[in-house]
Symmetry: C2
Amino acid sequence: MGGAAVLTEQIDPASDRAVYRQIADQLREAIARGRLQEGEQLPSETQLMEHYGVARMTVRNALRILQEEGLTIAEHGRGVYVRARPPVRRLASDRFAQRYRMAGKAAFTVESEQAGATPSVDMIQVSEARPPGDVADRLGLADDARTVVRSRRYSLDGRPVETAVSYIPADLARGTPIADPNPGPGGIYARLEESGHTLERFTEEVAARMPTPDEARLLALPPGVPVFRLVRTAYDNDGRAVEVCDTIMAANAYLLAYDLPAR
Amino acid sequence: MGGAAVLTEQIDPASDRAVYRQIADQLREAIARGRLQEGEQLPSETQLMEHYGVARMTVRNALRILQEEGLTIAEHGRGVYVRARPPVRRLASDRFAQRYRMAGKAAFTVESEQAGATPSVDMIQVSEARPPGDVADRLGLADDARTVVRSRRYSLDGRPVETAVSYIPADLARGTPIADPNPGPGGIYARLEESGHTLERFTEEVAARMPTPDEARLLALPPGVPVFRLVRTAYDNDGRAVEVCDTIMAANAYLLAYDLPAR
DNA sequence: GAGTGGTCTAGACCACCAC
DNA sequence: TGGTGGTCTAGACCACTCT
């Protein structure tokens, strides 16, 4: 049994608006007004067909729209449900402050503990390779320079939320714990500082788009959820770029917070 | 005539992967490899049906996937095209610096001129009303306090890119140019500073999601393009929140850049 | 086994666009 | 006028979930 109680209105066949859009409008309205609650099941396709007197494809087109908007999630063999919003992590702009690194904690650990969730990391891969052109530019390296490439996936309470690929110039990383899968307490930023590259500032560039199929798979993204692409560059106290981190984040799991001085 | 030259591969009927996904994969691959260039027309539905030997709905399902991913755009009566990416505006974190306001320019004007585009503003509405609860919280106001509400839509070279709604506590705005549709040179921030509220810092909170139908209409968003929701709070030199600005931005038109100190 | 959504077929008529 | 995509019908078979 689905939420058939919401099936009250009918279609206006004289309307210019396509039938499947009218059905989507009515269901969207029911969700917005709370007549369909988070996690609640929508009427089944069969119920919708019978109520509106339309073919199955028309119903499916309506349901597809809601799914594209990120409002619902279809579960094969079970039904269509109002999507429950995952807990959102708020990333504060001081999350790379030195005081956190001093405590021997990596940024992701700090953020997760503040949010009361259990962090985990998997799919760790470390290699040495030529970086993409835009990364080489950000690092101020020649196109054929080599970098240590660290990629990994972060999860919260077992749910994947973000993938990240870091590029560190090979002359800074080669032969140090930075080139090990486990770089030790405080992460690679702590190692960079120990080797004299005190971190002075970061820049972040934030974009948003729909995920590629690979990204959707790695982050277990349901349809209708975009991703943030966040590219962070770390600079040391000589003004040298010492790391570029290219991150893909499930946009429904993050709120990015920044402080801007006005002067 | 569409880009029928890309129709080389066939479907593997023995594969577990659905036929429409295989077709989508092949077309996506052609786009990624540049065999289908930006702005180029894809093979028509008829051509795809004949080449793969499938029904029209199967072809349309494949094309819908690409559209959801933001890769293509269908134009009724013309064809399906590889989406051309609009020029991206990079928003730097110093865009509210006082030196720009001193020159009598509003932030959007400054950004646009840097990008070499012609800015315009329409749908300007100014009213006085109770703000939403989260806005009242950010402004440190009681729930029943009143604010001047300024909403508008920004366009670049005639293309809408962003809508914004500003909330200013009524005691700061009432009876000043801030409550006029045209607040004068430098915008409302200049007016606030003239009345003694020197701006000290801003906070921005950035989220991304798929647009509502209203947002898609106002921003003329094609399918598969998410929006940024950016909520900015302005604080004066007494630490008082003097404005909250709630902005919806076409995510394919913006790149947000921030500086983070490492201290 | 009954009910759900996922995939696919084979048609139909329509609205829009370019020639 | 012919080709394009947009909408809709009426079926079919399948995979998955729950009981």
